[in-house]
C-alpha cells in the first residue's frame, strides 16, 4: 500500500485511541492523580524543610513521573489484545512499527502531556527555583515520550501473560534510568543557574533513538505475544 494509505491508517488509529481515552476519561485521569499524590506525599513524609525539599524536587518529580507513566503503560496494548483488535492491526498489511508509533503517540498525548502541564505547578509547591522550571518542562517534554516508547516494548512482551503488571515494572524501570539521570540532573543544574545544553542534547538523542528504534522490538514482541 502506498504512503497515503499508511498516513491514513496512522491518523485513524491515533484518533481511535484518543476517542477511546476520552470516553474512558475517568481511567485516563488516574495516572495524573497518582503523580500529584506521590509528589505531595514527600513534603508530608519529610516534613516542611524548604531546603531539603528544594534539593529533592527534581528527583521527586522525575521519579513520580516515571512511576505514573509506568502505571499507565499496560493500557497501550492490553485492551486491544483482549478484544482481538491487536491481531486485526497486525494483519492489516501496514508496517506494524508505524501502527505501534500511532498507539504510543496516543498514549503519550493522554498520559504524558497532562503530566507535563501539571509538573511545573508541583515544582513550585516543592519550592524549585524559577530558573529550574523551564528546564523541568523541557526535560519532561523530551523525556516522557521516551518513557512511552520504551514502555511499549515492555508491554508488548508481557501482554500475553495474564498478570503482566509487576513484570513490566521490572523490565522497564531499569531502562528508564538514563532518562532519569539526565532529566533530573538537568533540572538540578538549571536550578543552580548553570547551562544544561549537554543534558538536553542527550535527552534529545535518547528521544530520537527511541523514536527510530523502539517500535521495532515492540512490533516483534507483539507478533510473538500473539502467536
Amino acid at each position: 500500500m502506498n504512503q497515503r494509505s499508511l498516513l491514513r491508517a496512522f491518523y485513524f488509529l491515533l484518533k481511535r485511541d484518543l476517542i477511546i481515552s476520552f470516553r474512558r476519561r475517568s481511567e485516563a485521569v488516574n495516572p495524573l492523580l497518582f503523580f500529584v499524590i506521590v509528589v505531595t506525599l514527600f513534603p508530608l513524609g519529610i516534613g516542611a524543610e524548604p531546603k531539603l525539599l528544594t534539593a529533592m524536587a527534581p528527583g521527586v518529580i522525575w521519579v513520580a513521573a516515571m512511576l505514573a507513566a509506568m502505571l499507565s503503560l499496560d493500557g497501550i496494548f492490553r485492551s486491544d489484545f483482549e478484544d482481538g483488535s491487536l491481531e486485526q492491526l497486525l494483519l492489516s498489511g501496514h508496517p506494524v512499527t508505524i501502527l505501534v508509533l500511532a498507539k504510543v503517540t496516543a498514549h503519550w498525548l493522554v498520559t504524558g502531556l497532562p503530566l507535563l502541564m501539571i509538573a511545573p505547578v508541583l515544582a513550585i509547591l516543592l519550592g524549585l527555583p524559577s530558573e529550574g522550571l523551564q528546564t523541568l518542562f523541557l526535560t519532561l517534554l523530551l523525556g516522557t515520550p521516551v518513557l512511552s516508547l520504551v514502555g511499549a516494548i515492555g508491554v508488548a512482551l508481557t501482554v500475553g501473560l495474564r498478570r503482566g503488571g509487576i513484570i513490566i515494572s521490572l523490565l522497564v524501570l531499569p531502562l528508564y534510568i538514563p532518562v532519569l539521570i539526565f532529566g533530573s540532573n538537568a533540572v538540578q543544574v538549571a536550578a543552580n543557574g548553570m547551562p544544561v545544553t549537554a543534558q538536553l542534547s542527550m535527552l534529545t538523542a535518547l528521544l530520537a533513538l527511541g523514536l527510530a528504534l523502539a517500535p521495532l522490538p515492540t512490533a516483534a514482541a507483539l507478533k510473538m505475544s500473539l502467536s
Binding site: M1, L13, R23, Q88
Partner: protein, 214 residues
C-alpha cells in the same frame, strides 16, 4: 514492492504443503495438504481442541508452523508479509471490535486500516441489518449484533481470501442465513473462503472441500 490485489485475480490460489503444527509438544496435525483456487470454500471440521483455530491462525500468518509451507499464489506467506495480509481478511474468536466506539467508527477504522472495498460503510450496515445503529456504542449491542459487525469488516475491505473462525457463533438463524448468502456471493465472485463451523453450511452449489482434523 507491495503488489496490488489485482495482479493475482487470474490465478489466486492458496496451497498448503505438508503443514505440521504442534502445541506444547502435542502434534495437532501432521502432513496437511490442500489446495484452494478462486471460488472455492474449505470447511475445516474437527472436535474441540483438534487444532482448527491453530490451522486458521497459521494460514493467517499470526502463528508460525513447525514445518511445511503455506503458499499464496505460489509464494510463501511469511515472505509476502504485508502484501499477503492486504489480500486477506480474518475474523477470529474475538470480534476485534472496540466497545467504546460506535458501530460506524468501528467500520470506518477497519476500512482505513485495510484496502478499502467498493461498498460504502452505510450500504454495508444496511446489508447486515445494523442500519439505525450507526451511532450506538458497541458495548450496548448484543453478542450477535457484535458478531455481525465483526463480519461486516469482511465487506468494507477489498480482499481475495476470507479466513473465518466459527463465524456463526452467537448469530441468530436470520444472521446465519444472511452470512451464508454473503459467503456464497463472495465465492461466486472469485473469493476464497476458509472457515470452521459447527453448523452445516447451507451452501451447496459451490465447490466445497472439507478437512477433518483429529
Amino acid at each position: 514492492m507491495a503488489r496490488g490485489a489485482n495482479d493475482f485475480t487470474a490465478d489466486t490460489n492458496l496451497n498448503v504443503i505438508d503443514l505440521v503444527c504442534s502445541r506444547d509438544d502435542l502434534v495437532l496435525f501432521d502432513g496437511l495438504n490442500f489446495s484452494l483456487n478462486r471460488g472455492q470454500i474449505l470447511l475445516v471440521e474437527g472436535h474441540n481442541g483438534s487444532g482448527k483455530t491453530t490451522l486458521l491462525r497459521t494460514l493467517c500468518g499470526i502463528r508460525t508452523q513447525d514445518s511445511g509451507q503455506v503458499l499464496w499464489c505460489g509464494e510463501a506467506i511469511n515472505e509476502l508479509g504485508p502484501a499477503y495480509h492486504q489480500q486477506m481478511a480474518y475474523v477470529g474468536h474475538h470480534d476485534g471490535i472496540k466497545r467504546d466506539l460506535t458501530v460506524l467508527e468501528n467500520l470506518q477504522l477497519a476500512r482505513a486500516l485495510a484496502k478499502p472495498g467498493s461498498c460504502s460503510v452505510e450500504t454495508i450496515l444496511y446489508r447486515i441489518k445494523l442500519n439505525g445503529y450507526e451511532d450506538v456504542q458497541t458495548l450496548a449491542l448484543s453478542a450477535g449484533q457484535r458478531r455481525r459487525l465483526a463480519l461486516a469488516r469482511l465487506l468494507v475491505t477489498d480482499s481475495r481470501l476470507w479466513i473465518l473462525d466459527e463465524p456463526f457463533t452467537a448469530l441468530d438463524k436470520a444472521g446465519i442465513a444472511l452470512f451464508e448468502e454473503l459467503i456464497a456471493s463472495y465465492v461466486s465472485e472469485g473469493g476464497i473462503v476458509v472457515l470452521t463451523s459447527h453448523h452445516d453450511l447451507g451452501i451447496s452449489d459451490v465447490t466445497m472441500q472439507r478437512i477433518r482434523l483429529n
